[in-house]
Symmetry: C2
Subunit: 231 residues, 2 copies
């Protein structure tokens, strides 16, 4: 059997963990890549480490300094909205958007892919419940794949690089159903933008609301630990 190696961008969240289960099912040797980008909390990096271990993946954290670049409620001192679902509905770009984040993350994944001789990069973006971020759209993924094959030694030498975004056309409920079929334990994942000091989910932010709605629509019980004040 051909040796298949993939880089997976992992946030420790619901989506990227489902992607990891999909890649595992497809027999990839997995290198998980996470970013310490000045998030206001580090619970998601802990979750990413736990998830990588659960899938027998190597785990690598790259420290990237987005904080001086600012411009987002996720890295700067802007209040995380409760909720900006209204913005999603009207199609505008919410304040939780981090400038060029997926472009930067995929660029590092590309460098890592070259070093590891991986020709596949998995990313857990989806265009349905995507919160209006421009860099979660299929046309962005396609453009990055074209770039990747022009940018790198592997591309130039004919080992075509694929950017796989298996969730791109799935709703949150469909993602949760797929992951549950593959045996994903969602209790080890972290999605909340604004957790308590103990790492409990707020239940109110954009990310929590999409996640809860997903479990509800999938008819699967939500294993997320929420803060008491929310329950």
């Amino acid at each position: 059997m051909k040796n298949k190696t993939a880089i997976i961008l992992s946030s420790g969240g619901l989506d990227s963990t489902t992607v990891m289960a999909i890649a595992k099912k497809e027999n990839y040797i997995i290198h998980s890549l996470s970013f310490n980008y000045g998030q206001r909390h580090l619970f998601e990096l802990d979750a990413a480490k736990t998830v990588a271990a659960a899938y027998g993946a190597s785990h690598h954290i790259v420290k990237v300094d987005l904080r001086p670049i600012g411009g987002s409620a996720l890295t700067a001192d802007i209040d995380v909205p409760k909720s900006d679902i209204d913005e999603i509905a009207t199609g505008s770009i919410p304040v939780t958007y981090v400038p060029a984040r997926n472009t930067i993350f995929l660029s590092y994944a590309l460098a890592w892919a070259e070093v590891k001789n991986a020709t596949v990069i998995f990313i857990g973006v989806n265009a349905i419940d995507y919160s209006g971020y421009p860099d979660c759209r299929p046309e962005f993924i396609d453009a990055f794949e074209k770039l990747a094959n022009l940018a790198t030694k592997a591309g130039v030498e004919g080992n075509k690089i694929k950017i796989k975004a298996p969730l791109i056309n799935m709703s949150k409920a469909e993602i949760i159903k797929k992951g549950t079929e593959l045996g994903v334990d969602y209790s080890i994942t972290h999605s909340c933008y604004d957790p308590s000091d103990e790492g409990l989910a707020c239940g109110k932010c954009d990310s929590c609301i999409l996640r809860k709605k997903g479990f509800s629509e999938a008819g699967i019980s939500d294993p997320t630990l929420y803060v008491k004040s929310f329950l």
Copy 2:
């Protein structure tokens, strides 16, 4: 007059300094962006700071951690070849190639452009004396521009982002002639891959050889300070 703002990727070298002179001539407000990527020496960052000051540009250094990614003589413990001009001639990719470097650098420039409301990013790559790096070719630049306009708020909202690579079709000699016309003081720039402890150029590496050849072909005297053993 319309307010024009540009991000310029600056290494403190001959090429990016010439680009800065071109942007200055075109009346851009300039934000200079340099990277501390675990280079084995930091003389080029000092040069970048000096160059930004000379052009009245703001200067920003982003620390990016390419060293754990490795894979290049410029960041890892591989000997810098003296010289890999033979590899250039045969079209192969030299060991000084850093995986996905220009993709990562342009991604940060894109994030910075969004924050500064800049719609132009200047990069000093050229495809003639380009040392065989895949991410210095016109098709790479075009692909990044397409990506940039799909990846960002500015692109989505219709403020088209331009990636300008004004040196892309120029030889080193033509670049030096152009810069000299624009009054560039090349003595403040740094190109050497393997300088002495005092920051003097080795005169023997790929980058030094291309630079010296450029001055020679341009018929302009080379202001570079070389190590005594070379002279």
